[in-house]
């Protein structure tokens, strides 16, 4: 299975190399090859999905070294005897957090290729080549178990997307691609600093002083550091908070969180449909996935300390993004701003730091990928026919393309979190989780439900409802009747631009699986949550364990476990901590709590292998 995973990841890259080599005059061969490669990758992903065992907590399909317990193969020089030198490994594996994002990437690639099928006429082979290269980047990123490997894939995804926007984009494509590139690069450099700092801190202060780049090992090790200042997060300058903020910089831009979101609408509007689908569907999830994997997994106390900041930004993002979406007339910009709003929900769920919120957030990452991918594909369908995305120029498209109406309606309602469709089962747990963390935040965020319905239904009303009005397809502008005449405008079907073709097979193939999942997740979400939960539970347990240790650092009485708001909020814990002035502990007493901490940290290190002990810690935390 480990081999299959590696094959799945690198198959698209091979495909893209093949595209570069195969001579192709009219572009037909290229798109067929690309589709075949993408289908094969999807098939492999589905096999992995079916083989995934939901009961297992750690990464699966990873070739673990039996002797050392390390994942994958050693890549950068490492001497196992002296244990010196950096041990950077090529290690892949999937757990509940990454599994569905992995599959989603493969699935949305089909949609992306389908939506480029007719619309890309220029440098076809290169277009599909970049798309497939991007897929390898994303698949590798989600499957990486090594922090350096992760970072390499993380940066690698920038390059194909830069070219996709820059070559096949709209009129402002150069500005868009450069902005996108610089924005994300600036953030990710700070993230790199954070990543290095994590490795160094772990190297210096872990119990057995190992230099490791393995994500699972770092997560465990950092939760059990033999270094008290690591758990003191009272000020902005404390190490964990600093590292948290460094990591945040890159991921927040990728998500994107308010106020660093402005690259997104620009990039979306200029990107070709395929680029938008992948960008919104998967690339934004890279940000939230990073937040979950690194910010929550490795610096949970920093996350807890920064909860007020992050929650405020998330809520502002939700409301502000929704309001801005409401003011748009360009459908694509509208959907782009809706992403800002919906990603705010995801961040809020993650930082509620409890099981309910995190479960919802992971679910919502998948959901947002599906609905937004579908929405962009629908916009692509419209754009390909009318070469405009302005809602003022069209109305009543339901009359012309009932199937598109069905798809767009379903995707919008799913995005508006209608129960029975996928958005609801993500958004509602997020709100419940954040209510536990901070009721005010949840109530404010819930207004996003109303606003979300507002802009989506507004878009539907403008585009689908009303008498048929089509923009001119031949550039003579006879479709531009003023809206005032809409009432009396008869919608007989012999309009001058009735040459618009119905949805082609490639458009239906691209959208139908998304629609199926939108309904399936909404109707029966339980199996999906079952796959997610073991991994999220582990994250929550890390958070709880570290909270508990921080608590015991501050209260050096032996084995004192006071009932705290465990499942409850990050805010609560942080507030409680602030309420008590920190006492400088007498150095005499230092020995005892340290011993205590040590035993505790060993326990936390053993969390993974011994669930019994873990649950005792969890109970203590609650």
């Amino acid at each position: 299975m480990a081999t299959l995973l590696a094959i799945t990841i690198f198959l698209p890259l091979l495909g893209s190399v093949a595209l570069a080599l195969i001579p192709d005059r009219d572009g037909r061969t290229s798109r067929r090859v690309a589709m075949a490669v993408a289908l094969a990758t999807l098939a492999c992903s589905v096999v992995l999905l079916l083989a995934f065992r939901p009961s297992v907590e750690g990464p699966q399909f990873s070739a673990a070294d039996k002797a050392t317990g390390h994942y994958g193969l050693s890549w950068v020089g490492h001497d196992p005897n002296t244990r010196g030198g950096p041990d950077i490994r090529v290690a892949f594996g999937l757990d509940g957090l990454s599994l569905w994002l992995f599959v989603l990437t493969s699935l949305l690639m089909i949609t992306a290729i389908c939506s480029s099928w007719e619309s890309i006429k220029d440098r076809v082979a290169a277009h599909y080549g970049f798309l497939l290269a991007l897929q390898t980047g994303l698949l590798g990123l989600f499957a990486s178990l090594d922090i350096v490997l992760f970072y390499i894939f993380f940066e690698f995804t920038l390059i194909p997307l830069f070219f996709l926007i820059g070559i096949w984009g709209g009129p402002q494509r150069r500005r868009a691609s450069v902005t996108f590139f610089l924005y994300t690069l600036a953030g990710s450099l700070l993230t790199l600093l954070g990543v290095i700092a994590l490795v160094v801190v772990h190297y210096q202060f872990s119990v057995d002083k190992t230099l490791t780049f393995s994500i699972p090992e770092l997560t465990q090790g950092l939760a059990a550091l033999d270094w008290k200042p690591w758990r003191e997060v009272g000020s902005w300058g404390s190490p964990q908070v600093l590292i948290f903020l460094l990591l945040l910089a890159g991921f927040a831009i990728k998500v994107p969180m308010f106020p660093v979101h402005t690259w997104l609408p620009l990039a979306h509007v200029e990107a070709p449909t395929a680029g938008s689908i992948v960008l919104a569907g998967v690339l934004l999830k890279v940000g939230s996935y990073g937040l979950l994997r690194f910010n929550l997994g490795m610096t949970p106390l920093g996350a807890q300390a920064c909860f007020p900041l992050i929650a405020s930004l998330a809520v502002i993002g939700i409301i502000y993004g929704a309001l801005t979406a409401l003011a748009q007339t360009d459908i694509k910009r509208l959907v782009a701003y809706s992403s800002v709003s919906h990603m705010g929900f995801i961040v809020l769920g993650l930082f509620s730091l409890n099981q309910t919120g995190i479960d919802g957030a992971v679910m919502q990452m998948i959901n947002h990928g599906l609905t937004t991918g579908a929405l962009f594909a629908c916009v692509g369908v419209i754009y390909e026919r009318y070469h405009t995305r302005s809602m003022n120029e069209m109305s009543g498209l339901w009359n012309r393309m009932p199937l598109l109406a069905f798809f767009l309606m379903l995707a919008s309602l799913g995005s508006a979190a209608l129960p029975g469709l996928n958005g609801f089962v993500g958004e509602f747990p997020i709100l419940v989780g954040s209510y536990a963390a901070s009721p005010t935040t949840a109530v404010l965020a819930a207004t996003g439900m109303i606003l979300g319905a507002f802009y989506l239904l507004w878009m539907i009303r403008k585009v689908l409802f009303g008498p048929l009005k089509e923009p001119a397809t031949d550039g003579h502008g006879h479709g531009h009747e003023p809206i005032a005449s809409a009432e009396t405008h008869d919608h007989n079907h012999d309009h001058a631009s009735s040459s618009v073709p119905p949805l082609g097979w490639h458009e239906i193939v691209g959208l139908a699986p998304l629609m199926f999942l939108i309904v399936a997740i909404g109707v029966y979400p339980r199996p999906f949550f079952e796959q997610i939960q073991p991994a999220t539970r582990a994250i929550v347990r890390t958070i709880e364990a570290e909270r508990q240790m921080a608590y015991e650092d501050e209260h050096p009485q032996p084995v004192q476990r006071v009932r705290r708001r465990g499942g409850g909020g990050g805010g609560g814990g942080a507030a409680a901590k602030k309420a008590e002035p920190k006492k400088a502990e007498p150095s005499k007493k230092d020995a005892q709590p340290k011993a205590n901490t040590k035993s505790e940290s060993k326990k936390a290190a053993a969390v993974k292998s011994e669930p019994g002990q873990a649950s005792s810690i969890e109970k203590g935390g609650r």
């Binding site: 600036a186 308010f258 106020p259 660093v260 979101h261 402005t262 609408p265 502000y320 309001l323 801005t324 409401l326 003011a327 409890n354 099981q355 309910t356 919120g357 479960d359 919802g360 009543g396 339901w398 009359n399 309602l413 209608l418 129960p419 029975g420 609801f424 089962v425 509602f428 747990p429 709100l431 419940v432 989780g433 209510y435 536990a436 009721p439 109530v443 819930a446 207004t447 439900m449 109303i450 319905a453 507002f454 239904l457 507004w458 009303r461 689908l464 409802f465 009303g466 008498p467 048929l468 809409a486 919608h491 029966y524 979400p525 339980r526 949550f529 079952e530 939960q533 999220t536 499942g567």
Partner: protein
């Protein structure tokens, strides 16, 4: 704790009630092309089967009858099983919903005949019934919420059924958004419930048990009740969120009948009735509910007095009658709580029949008049539409609470509940006093506007609509002809075909029958609605509610009847024959008349305040995003460039020696750092 309970056959299979209509809808949707004109058959079958199962559950209704069908959602501590509750309240609702919806579906087959989207219509009707029955069956606040929003979504799609009409598009969106505002309150109530409920269990039994045992603080109970009421005001069209309902008649008339009578609007009343064991513990909220219901009833009746659109009169009358139900619910204080909830549900029950009847009869009129529904454009239809005339008369008399029709008994129960609350309430007695007298005044207005609509439509000299009518708006003829062309072609002025007439007759029969049952059961059980109360008592938490002494109050009944008859008489005098009286009244009360005709400008007020605020903030956000946030970030990005120009450019001096020196220095620092790092290792 309920181990002794063994779910019976119908309890275990109650999930079939939402399932059958869903199946019907799916079959219709998938087979749309092949079924075409027969698309109604699967949905008919689905609703019919659901009705049969519902009847079966009536007998198995029990306080503790519940059954988990499957585990639906489990996200962290939010665990929601798909669990059904089959008790008095839910079985009553299920039977009523499936029965009335079934009749509406039969009627619709005639009414929608020939519509190009005929299959879509029936698929949506099936989904609508699924959502409503699911809502009623669920034993869990979140699952109720799921179907609650499902009902909203189906109504959105049905109101906007004729999607190319801009007015339908606007009405559909308004319905969904106003309901979302209500759902917002409901959602927060659920968050709150989740955080206070023991074990984060959202099922009704555990929450009511916790509320009763005092595990949930009183302030939380009051807050949650208030939020649930907020949710209910949207679905059940109460102040301040009632404005969507009158617009909802943009959908096909059978949809209006469905929304206004059996499904959708009853959801809010149902939710509060279901939560009564908890809500009754918050007397302040109860007084607010009663007062809101009262204000809504009065306001809507005042608007209905002057409307010229027959369906619109009926729409406002629905709002008004729902107000009565809320008055009754709000009267559930102290030892009359059970009486109050029975009264509310009984009025809901009878109203479902006669309001569906009135709407379908209006639809029949509209059908016969070629989609004209303005009462000024037709008159004296009693000879042309005899069946519609007679059935409408039954519905109108029931609405006007004329004895011994069903409406008389249920309205009497409501008034009795309010007068009970006057005595039972400790600190809000004065509120119920006001509510009681306002309710009586509203009863008079109800009778008047019902009579007005009836006499204007069916009495006087015969007149059929013509396009050159002075009342016909210039675009009207065109728009209606256009709408018509989506529907059906036939000559105007004929009675509806049997497929439409028979449901009317059945509903009229039920209206009479329920009244007769009350009359017959009265001497046997000691009260006109005791048979109904007996069934409803088998509801979770209802037996613990205060029973109170319920006597039939001759004073209330007589007064109510006199007011009703008075209202009808006044309407007869004014409208039975065209006369100068209405015009004179119009002049006499010019300002009031115009205010009522324009619905007291509430829609305009909302547009000018709330909608405008949102729109303006949207524009501001857009402006800020383009000109502030983006510029700010770009500005920050310029700082390094500026630094580079000002300072770093100096070092790009092209001197190789300088470059070499700085490189060496950097390497030295790096080495030092690494050495120090290495030294620290043990």
């Amino acid at each position: 704790m309920e181990l002794a309970y063994e779910p019976g056959f119908f309890v275990r299979n109650a999930w079939l009630i939402p399932f059958f209509p869903l199946l019907g809808a799916l079959v219709t949707a998938i087979g749309a092309r092949r079924l075409r004109g027969a698309a109604h058959l699967p949905v008919w079958a689905g609703i019919g089967l659901a009705f049969l199962v519902s009847l079966g559950t009536l007998a198995s209704a029990d306080h503790s009858a519940k059954y988990t069908v499957f585990e639906w959602l489990s996200a962290g501590n939010l665990e929601v099983p798909f669990q059904v509750r089959v008790d008095g309240l839910s079985t009553m609702m299920l039977s009523m919903v499936t029965f009335v919806s079934g009749l509406v579906a039969i009627f619709a087959a005639g009414y929608m005949h020939g519509d190009p989207s005929y299959p879509r219509f029936f698929a949506l009707i099936g989904l609508f019934v699924t959502s409503m029955t699911g809502l009623v069956l669920s034993n869990n606040y979140l699952l109720t919420y799921v179907f609650w929003e499902g009902v909203g979504a189906c109504s959105y799609l049905l109101i906007g059924f004729w999607y190319s009409r801009p007015s339908a598009a606007a009405a559909a969106m308004k319905a969904f958004l106003v309901n979302r505002v209500g759902d917002f309150g409901f959602a927060i109530a659920i968050f709150w419930l989740w955080s206070v409920s023991p074990g984060h269990d959202l099922s009704y039994d555990s929450i009511f048990a916790a509320a009763e045992s005092g595990a949930i603080p009183t302030s939380a109970i009051a807050g949650i009740s208030l939020l649930l009421f907020w949710g209910a005001t949207a679905k059940s069209a109460q102040i301040p969120l009632y404005t969507w309902l009158p617009d909802a008649m943009e959908g096909p008339t059978p949809v209006s009948a469905l929304i206004h009578a059996a499904t959708m609007v009853t959801a809010g009343v149902y939710l509060l009735a279901r939560s009564m064991p908890m809500v009754a513990m918050a007397p302040g909220v109860q007084a607010l509910i009663a007062a809101t219901g009262c204000a809504t009833a009065l306001l809507a009746a005042a608007i209905a007095l002057t409307q010229n659109d027959l369906k619109r009169v009926m729409a406002y009358s629905t709002v008004s009658q729902l107000g009565y139900m809320f008055m009754a619910l709000g009267s559930g204080v102290g030892d009359v709580a059970q009486l109050a909830v029975v009264a509310a549900m009984f009025h809901l029950f009878t109203h479902a029949f006669f309001k569906a009847l009135l709407f379908l009869a209006s639809g029949s009129v509209m059908h016969a008049m070629g989609d004209v529904i303005d009462m000024r454009r037709f008159r004296g239809l009693r000879h042309r539409l005899p069946i519609t005339y007679l059935t409408f008369a039954v519905g109108a008399l029931a609405l006007a609470a004329f004895p011994p029709l069903s409406g008389f008994f249920s309205k009497d129960e409501v008034l009795g509940a309010i007068s009970g609350a006057i005595h039972a309430s400790e600190s809000y007695s004065w509120v119920y006093q006001i509510v009681y007298w306002t309710a009586l005044v509203t009863a008079f207005m109800t009778a008047f506007y019902t009579g007005r609509a009836f006499f204007m439509t069916f009495h006087g000299p015969e007149k059929l609509p013509s396009p050159n009518d002075p009342e016909a708006p210039p675009a009207d003829a065109h728009a209606h002809a256009h709408a018509h062309d989506e529907g059906h072609h036939h000559e105007i002025g004929h009675e509806s075909p049997p497929i439409m007439a028979i449901p009317l007759m059945i509903l009229a029969g039920c209206t009479v029958l329920i009244g007769l049952i009350c009359l017959v059961a009265w001497p046997i059980t000691g009260g006109p609605a005791e048979w109904f109360a007996g069934h409803l008592e088998k509801t979770l938490g209802f037996e613990a509610l205060g029973h109170g002494e319920h006597g039939f109050s001759w004073f209330t009944a007589t007064l109510g009847t006199l007011l009703g008859v008075g209202g009808i008489a006044l309407a007869y005098v004014m409208y039975a024959e065209p006369g100068p009286l209405p015009a004179r009244m119009k002049e006499r009360f010019g300002a009031l008349y115009r205010a009522s005709l324009n619905k007291f400008y509430v829609d305009e007020f909302y547009d000018a305040t709330i909608v405008a605020t949102v729109r303006i903030s949207a524009s501001i956000s857009d402006f800020v995003d383009t000109y502030v946030v983006d510029r700010l970030i770009t500005g920050i990005a310029l700082i390094p460039r500026a630094i580079g120009r000002a300072r770093l450019a100096l070092y790009q001096n092209g001197l190789i020696q300088f470059y070499a020196a700085s490189s060496a220095l950097c390497v030295a620092f790096l080495l030092l750092f690494l050495v120090l790092l290495g030294l620290q290792r043990p």
